[in-house]
């Protein structure tokens, strides 16, 4: 056996636990770093052991390197506009499927805004004449309900997409995977907050009849629009492309303006479209979400990887997916949102955290890029320095950084990228999410905004599942045996890419 590496001239100790030991080491002439230790995984013993099994595990490190590389290399481009029924596989034929935000949830358990939105969509599709009739239809189980994510899509707030709705088609040119998102309706009484009255239906029909074909014609002229450069520029202009999208929306309008004027569409339609987009500072959010989903999906399906590929909320539960654990959702009740309420509203009125828009944080923007949009911390009584610290702190729980997105307030450092579920549990630092707050009752709308975090229990469960997937035998064994690391698995053409990423 080779000689030990411990015997040297001096000793540097990392102290984990009681501080008195650290003080004594220093007093005795040694060097010491004292950790501020907390029980990991909220004190869950099995979770703590599973965490130790997968931290610094060579197979996991290699898998994460692969997943992160695919994420960073992703190039999401807006290739067109389609009708949901034509591109979401589950909606093919005449199947009565409506997709919603967040992990799976049954109709009786859905929160108010989501129920309202589902009913509005049923009326929109013509499956029922009225909201009441829609309620009877859905209560009897005649409408299927699935997460957007299961169909390759994302939707903000209630996130309801039904077959006749138009969706953006975003393709990751680096790997070929696609993601879809509906159009943002704007503010006020809108479907995504659960409103389902006639004006909501009318607006949705207008979007399908006017805005969608116009944008289709525009894109035919512009060709595919790369979304990462738009997002990167917006991040340098005060947006974080989740709760602040004004700059990105303006950049998008700039990009399509010439084509919009020259496109072969009725002038009235062009006018209506530009008014629709320009009147909604959050228009770009849905493009941002689709782009982020395309980037995250590129990283999915790498066996052994602890990289988070989805974070989503359905108004009751918060769900997390990892690259290395397939389609499994790891769920826990959503954390409360710490924020400011518009006059007349309070936390008693608030719905729980809702929407697929946490896909932006999953991709390293949104709350992770808070340094780019310091105004948001005013919602929680913070300062711009706090916004910067949020972004810096997220580096503790990510695999690396994304050179495509730089943050001026951090001396143009690259934004954190690739949330590592292991590091979340190990450090006790939760992913931060910038969130709008909806009223708990359907149809009232947004009543505030603020900052929340993803719940620890999701990541603990995910780490345990990952550890199980790596064990050769049941029971605690330190590491899986030596073998080919996933990243070095045979790279013959056709293998190793593209499989297992579709839910």
């Amino acid at each position: 056996m080779p000689a030990t590496t411990l015997f040297k001239e001096s000793l540097t100790v990392i102290n984990v636990g009681l501080k008195g030991f650290a003080d004594n080491v220093v007093a005795a002439g040694g060097q010491c770093v004292a950790l501020d230790w907390q029980p990991p995984a909220q004190g869950d013993r099995d979770g703590a052991w599973a965490l130790a099994e997968v931290l610094n595990h060579p197979a996991v490190e290699a898998a994460n390197a692969t997943a992160l590389a695919r994420f960073i290399e992703a190039n999401p481009v807006l290739t067109g506009v389609a009708t949901a029924r034509d591109v979401l596989p589950g909606m093919a034929g005449k199947r009565r499927l409506i997709v919603h935000a967040g992990p799976p949830i049954e109709w009786p358990a859905m929160c108010g805004p989501m129920r309202g939105a589902v009913l509005g969509a049923v009326v929109l599709e013509g499956w029922a004449d009225s909201v009441d009739a829609a309620l009877r239809l859905v209560a009897r189980g005649h409408v299927e309900l699935e997460p957007c994510h299961h169909q390759g899509a994302v939707g903000p707030m209630a996130g309801i997409i039904s077959p006749s709705m138009p969706v953006f088609v975003v393709e990751n040119r680096a790997a070929g995977n696609r993601a879809y998102c509906n159009f943002n309706e704007g503010l006020g009484k809108v479907l995504r907050f659960g409103a389902n009255g006639p004006e909501v239906i009318t607006r949705l029909r207008m979007m399908a009849a006017v805005v969608a074909p116009t944008l289709r014609a525009v894109l035919a002229r512009t060709g595919a629009i790369e979304l990462k450069p738009l997002m990167a520029q917006a991040l340098n202009m005060g947006d974080e492309v989740h709760n602040r999208n004004a700059a990105a929306t303006a950049l998008f309008i700039k990009r399509i303006a010439p084509a919009l004027i020259e496109a072969d569409v009725a002038r009235a339609d062009a006018t209506a479209t530009i008014q629709f987009i320009a009147g909604n500072d959050h228009f770009f959010l849905n493009l941002s979400m689709a782009a982020c989903k395309a980037m995250c999906d590129a990283a999915a399906g790498v066996a052994g990887s602890s990289m988070v590929t989805a974070m989503a909320r359905n108004g009751v539960n918060f769900g997390v997916r990892l690259s290395g654990t397939g389609d499994t959702w790891f769920e826990a009740p959503a954390n409360p949102v710490n924020g400011l309420y518009f006059p007349g509203y309070s936390i008693a009125d608030a719905a729980a955290d809702l929407g697929d828009s946490a896909i932006t944080e999953t991709a390293g923007v949104g709350g992770f890029a808070m340094a780019a949009a310091p105004a948001i911390v005013k919602f929680v009584g913070g300062t711009p320095t706090d916004a910067i610290h949020h972004s810096l702190r997220m580096r503790a729980i990510t695999l690396g950084a994304n050179p495509s997105f730089t943050l001026p307030a951090l001396d143009f450092a690259a934004a954190a990228a690739g949330i590592d579920a292991r590091k979340v549990v190990d450090c006790g630092v939760l992913p931060v999410i910038n969130s709008g707050i909806a009223h708990r009752e359907a149809g009232v709308g947004q009543i505030g905004a603020g900052v929340t975090t993803a719940p620890m229990a999701c990541f603990t469960a995910a780490v345990k599942a990952l550890a199980r997937s790596l064990r050769p035998h049941p029971g605690p064994l330190p590491h899986a045996g030596e073998g080919v690391s996933p990243s070095l698995a045979p790279a013959l053409r056709g293998e190793g890419r593209g499989e297992g990423r579709r839910p």
Binding site: T4, F21, N24, P39, T385
Partner: protein, 516 residues
């Protein structure tokens, strides 16, 4: 009319030391009869019963619970004070204008902060300790695992893992080590030299390293293995690794191995490995002298003897024989005290802070056929049932006495109280004790002890009795406490302080034999 108030701090963790200190602070407040701060685990909640502080608090194991009993106003004020103390202890270096650094909450970030780190010193609750050790090992760090209550299966898993990576796990339940000259845990300041040690006993390691220093020798490395390393289920993994490391260490010229007797199979494995070390090895299995050792190995029969032999071998001299009787001067003093004793005084009451000292002292009595009871009985002693009758040997650092309170080496008040109580017992002829100095120990253990001894003697004298007080101070002249001053305080109240635990035990046994 006393009321009980409580507050739950959700998802707030503080270590047990901080909680005990906070509890003590709250109890000091006027109007507070009883107070406790704890993490709301089932085991901790059960302890509230004993303190008459049971409350129906909606708390989970990751929540912090503060319970106070007293008059209503004082309770509220105490809880408010606790709130302030707990919340203010938070910040990890961020907040408006301060330079940002990643929160130091994980080993990985710790290693980033100190990339040349060699070792992780882990003292977290036993439920999580092995997992933290595994993380440290997979980062390439050696581990000293101070925590106890680690399941044996986990100890085996981490030691097997460590061995495959050529890393050392010292522990679990390892309280003492000296690595690269730096004392870790409860350890003394000793000069560097060429004697290396591997020990399954913390206070045993302290006794031998101190004596080596006091004899003018020095230590290259002093490694701990934890109390369970040489059991069958573990198989001596760390002892064998430590032995091999010292064998390969150019600075080490003599090796000392200390442990309670392992099973014959493991003992043989260790002896074989020691025989192949290529340098002299002193083997001390407390209470079991090996009959036939391979060449190059010398058996020691006490901790004192182990140090004496090691120093001699390091100097190239012949190993001396072990001490079999106390010094003439000490004998004379004790005999004189015995002459003044009442006829009821026949028992030795041994009150130890170091578990191995308790064990070694029992071995001396058993070898002389003197019956003894103990809460940690050696082979041949009987179990202590709470009645002070005959010779009693108590290890006050044992789990029985340290639930919810600090170890007696840190907080000597429990041992002092036990000492004081012996004065009233007509049976007590002698009080036998240890005083352990060094890092981790109380800053003045002899102070309270001397007071307690004096009180016991006064009580005895008031009833026409005289008590002999026999002990030793385990420490060096370099330790943070002033060893000479500690000895002076004890001798000033009439205690006989000898140079080692075995000599103190021999002295007490001599008295016991003559009083039987």
């Amino acid at each position: 009319m006393a009321t009980t108030r409580f507050k739950v701090f959700a998802n707030l963790y503080k270590d047990s030391v901080t909680l005990m200190q906070l509890g003590a602070k709250l109890r000091e407040r006027d109007g507070v009869a009883q107070a406790s701060c704890l993490m709301a685990t089932p085991a901790n909640l059960a302890q509230l019963v004993d303190a008459d502080l049971v409350v129906d608090a909606p708390a989970s194991p990751s929540d912090l619970l503060v319970v106070v009993r007293g008059d209503a106003l004082s309770c509220d004020e105490a809880i408010a004070a606790a709130d302030e103390l707990l919340q203010s202890a938070g910040a990890t270096g961020d907040g408006g204008g301060a330079a940002f650094s990643l929160p130091l909450t994980s080993l990985a970030i710790g290693v980033e902060r100190a990339p040349d780190a060699d070792l992780a010193l882990i003292s977290v609750p036993g439920d999580y300790a092995a997992a933290e050790a595994m993380k440290a090992l997979s980062l390439g760090l050696h581990v000293m695992l101070f925590s106890d209550n680690v399941p044996v299966a986990e100890e085996r898993a981490i030691k097997t893992f460590a061995r495959a990576k050529n890393l050392l796990v010292m522990g679990p339940d390892c309280g003492t080590a000296i690595v690269n000259g730096v004392p870790l845990g409860f350890a003394n300041v000793v000069r560097r030299g060429d004697i290396g040690l591997v020990a399954a006993s913390g206070t045993g390691l302290q006794e031998v390293t101190c004596r080596i220093h006091n004899l003018g020798g020095g230590i290259s490395q002093a490694l701990g293995t934890g109390g369970r390393d040489l059991k069958e289920e573990i198989g001596g993994i760390t002892m064998l690794q430590g032995l091999a490391a010292l064998a390969a260490d150019s600075r080490t010229r003599v090796i000392v191995l200390i442990s309670k007797p392992p099973s014959p199979a493991i003992a043989r494995q260790i002896e074989d490995a020691a025989g192949a070390a290529g340098k002299p090895v002193v083997v001390h299995f407390l209470g079991a002298t090996p009959q036939r050792l391979p060449a190059g190995l010398v058996a020691a029969t006490s901790l004192r003897h182990a140090a004496d032999v090691a120093v001699a071998l390091a100097r190239g001299e012949a190993p001396p024989v072990a001490l079999t009787a106390p010094s003439a001067a000490a004998l004379a003093t004790v005999d004189k005290q015995a002459a003044a004793m009442a006829s009821t005084q026949k028992a030795v009451r041994a009150l130890f802070t170091g578990g191995t000292f308790c064990y070694e002292a029992q071995l001396v009595f058993i070898a002389q056929g003197l019956p003894c009871r103990s809460n940690a009985p050696a082979n041949g002693a009987s179990a202590f049932d709470g009645r002070y009758d005959g010779h009693v040997f108590l290890d006050l650092g044992d789990d029985d006495y340290t639930r919810g309170r600090p170890h007696p080496m840190i907080d000597p008040s429990l041992r002092d109280a036990a000492v004081r109580a012996q004065g009233a017992d007509p049976q007590t002829a002698a009080i036998l004790f240890d005083v352990v100095l060094g890092f981790g120990s109380h800053e003045n253990p002899a102070g309270g002890l001397a007071q307690a001894l004096a009180d016991a003697q006064r009580e005895a004298r008031a009833h026409g009795r005289t008590i002999a007080m026999i002990g030793h101070v385990c420490g060096t002249d370099e330790d943070p406490q002033d060893k000479a001053e500690q000895m002076r305080q004890l001798e000033a109240v009439g205690a006989v302080i000898v140079g080692s635990n075995v000599e103190a035990a021999l002295l007490a046994a001599h008295l016991a034999a003559h009083r039987a």
